[in-house]
């Protein structure tokens, strides 16, 4: 009897913990969701910030933010950059992972060490000098600038692909070699299809990380015609700090694409990040 009671008590305190945590995580999001549907008067004079908006269909703030920030162009630019650099980085990372898991060769440790170094080095500061170099070679203020920079360094993708390829026994390669298949053929028609889950994970994580980055667009792509979604909201936000309802609409629109991806694919995302971080 007492055991059941103590278990009930435990459950009650657990439910309390969960509720508290959910409030902690969700409350800022709910707050800006509320304010994004409030008119100026409603926002200024409503008795409590915690009140939900009176009219959930009021879209005035969303209209304003799309006009002010040119967010549609931002989405389009982000999409173009994402498609090309994800594809390029996937090809490069899978080739590196293939070579590193399939072959023993001199310099292998050096390659691994390079990626490790890149992982721990504070990249934001290397940007300062990369910036000087990029402007000199004329790769500046264009979509290819972003595409190339996002392709350049990718440690997490390599780890995830390494992990996936390590699980494929070398005996598979050997039997294909008995049939006379070339290494390129083994890579393309056997190894790549076998690591499809890893590839999917890499694509999802890469899409999210490029979409969320604001520093490379800020530094290398200052022009209005090449702004990404994050840069568009970043530019507009400075003037809107006093107009919280309009700002909120922008923040919601900026986080919406990754939130949708997350809601649909959260299992892949969580397991991918866990594998990548623990190995890295």
């Amino acid at each position: 009897m007492s055991m059941i009671r103590s278990r009930r008590k435990l459950n009650a305190s657990l439910v309390g913990t969960y509720a508290l945590l959910a409030v902690f995580v969700l409350s800022p999001l709910v707050m800006i969701l509320f304010s994004s549907f409030k008119t100026n008067e409603e926002y200024m004079y409503s008795k409590s910030v915690f009140m939900p908006p009176m009219d959930w269909t009021y879209l005035g703030n969303y209209v304003v933010i799309f006009q002010r920030s040119n967010l549609l162009l931002g989405y389009l630019n982000s999409l173009i950059i994402i498609v090309f650099s994800t594809l390029g980085s996937l090809v490069m990372c899978s080739m590196v992972a293939f070579v590193l898991t399939r072959f023993e060769f001199r310099g292998k440790k050096v390659v691994l060490a390079l990626y490790l170094l890149m992982n721990i080095f504070p990249m934001n500061v290397v940007e300062v000098f990369r910036y000087i170099f990029m402007t000199r070679i004329g790769l500046f203020n264009s979509l290819p600038t972003g595409i190339i920079l996002y392709m350049a360094a990718e440690v997490l993708s390599i780890y995830i692909l390494l992990q996936g390829m390590q699980e494929i026994p070398l005996s598979i390669d050997e039997s294909a070699m008995m049939d006379g298949a070339s290494f390129f053929r083994i890579y393309r028609t056997m190894i790549l299809p076998l690591v499809t889950p890893a590839i999917v994970t890499v694509i999802i994580l890469k899409v999210i990380s490029i979409y969320n980055d604001f520093f490379i667009p800020y530094l290398y792509m200052p022009g209005p015609s090449v702004k990404t979604a994050a840069k568009a909201i970043f530019d507009a936000a400075g003037d809107l700090v006093a107009k919280v309802n309009q700002l909120s609409a922008g923040l919601i629109m900026l986080m919406l694409p990754t939130l949708v991806i997350y809601i649909v694919l959260q299992r892949w995302i969580i397991s991918g990040i866990t594998v990548g971080s623990v190995k890295g």
Binding site: L21, P28, V99, F103, V128, F129, N212, I252, L254
Partner: protein, 289 residues
């Protein structure tokens, strides 16, 4: 084309690694080397570069406005350590069967994938004098006047709170993955022997999580030294330099003051601290193994 596997292997290694290595060389190693060289020079971005030896380093260590900003990074370290403790406890709590468990885990992890621009500006609203947090604090009677979250005294705590919110779920999920590798038989055997929850936590859970604690500890330390987003997006180092971190100070030195030499030295110092910590951690791990 009939190449032997030996020749083929060489060809594949060379061609597969060529482009990625060129990318690393051009976009990472070359800027790193320039960074290192410039840290011993004075350069404003226009006039010729002049070699000044260690004077940048000396000046940085002597100036509280330069190396002193590392104390602002300490706020992020403290919040990161709290994150680890909270992450372990949460993981233990979540690591049991209950309805809605995956849903709860998904909510907890969600902040990690939200754009930092959105996150930081969202909190700038939460922190307003008449914003939600102040409403809450005053309703609960914790303070009679609204707190100034972004004032000189509180700004680093407030900004590190943003990272706490953003990354708590990340650490929890990593610990959770570790917990799921512990066999439940261990706990069953311990319960039969009469071990309390706390004893089980200390004797079974913590030892198993130890490698993950180490990895996460390193991520927290490195992360706190690299703290950047909130400062760069929201406060720009203010008010009156009170929120500058190593990274934002270094960026400012380069782009605001055109002092590329000092900017380079400051980031080399940061990088060396991080590398020293990673070496120490690896040495410790190897010693035990």
């Amino acid at each position: 084309m009939n190449l032997s596997y030996r020749e083929q292997k060489r060809l594949v290694i060379a061609t597969f690694l060529l482009v990625p290595l060129v990318f690393i060389g051009v976009f990472f190693l070359y800027p790193c080397c320039m960074l290192f060289a410039l840290s011993f020079s004075q350069w404003d971005g226009l006039s010729p570069i002049s070699y000044v030896g260690l004077s940048n380093y000396r000046e940085i260590f002597a100036s509280p406005r330069l190396f002193g900003v590392i104390f602002h990074n300490m706020a992020y370290l403290v919040s990161g350590l709290l994150q680890l403790v909270a992450g372990i406890l949460l993981a233990v709590i979540i690591n049991r069967e209950f309805r809605g468990r995956n849903f709860f885990r998904a909510i907890l992890f969600m902040p990690y994938i939200i754009n930092s621009v959105s996150v930081v500006y969202m909190f700038s609203y939460m922190f307003l004098p008449n914003g939600p947090y102040n409403h809450l604090i005053m309703a609960l009677g914790l303070s009679k006047t609204p707190l100034k979250f972004l004032s000189k005294d509180l700004v680093n705590i407030s900004l590190s709170f943003i990272s706490f919110w953003q990354y708590l779920g990340f650490y929890t999920v990593i610990f959770l993955a570790g917990l799921q590798t512990i066999s439940s038989e261990l706990y069953e055997a311990a319960s039969i022997d009469g071990a309390s929850f706390w004893q089980q936590f200390r004797k079974i859970t913590l030892p198993h999580l130890r490698p993950l604690v180490e990895i996460n500890l390193f991520l927290v330390i490195a992360g706190s030294l690299k703290a950047f987003d909130g400062v760069f997006i929201l406060t720009k180092g203010g008010p009156n330099e009170a929120s500058h971190t190593l990274m934002t100070k270094s960026i400012d030195l380069a782009f605001k003051y055109n002092d590329y030499g000092k900017s380079a030295s400051l980031s080399i110092i940061t990088a060396f601290i991080i590398i020293a910590i990673i070496m120490l951690q690896r040495a410790l791990m190897r010693e035990r193994a």
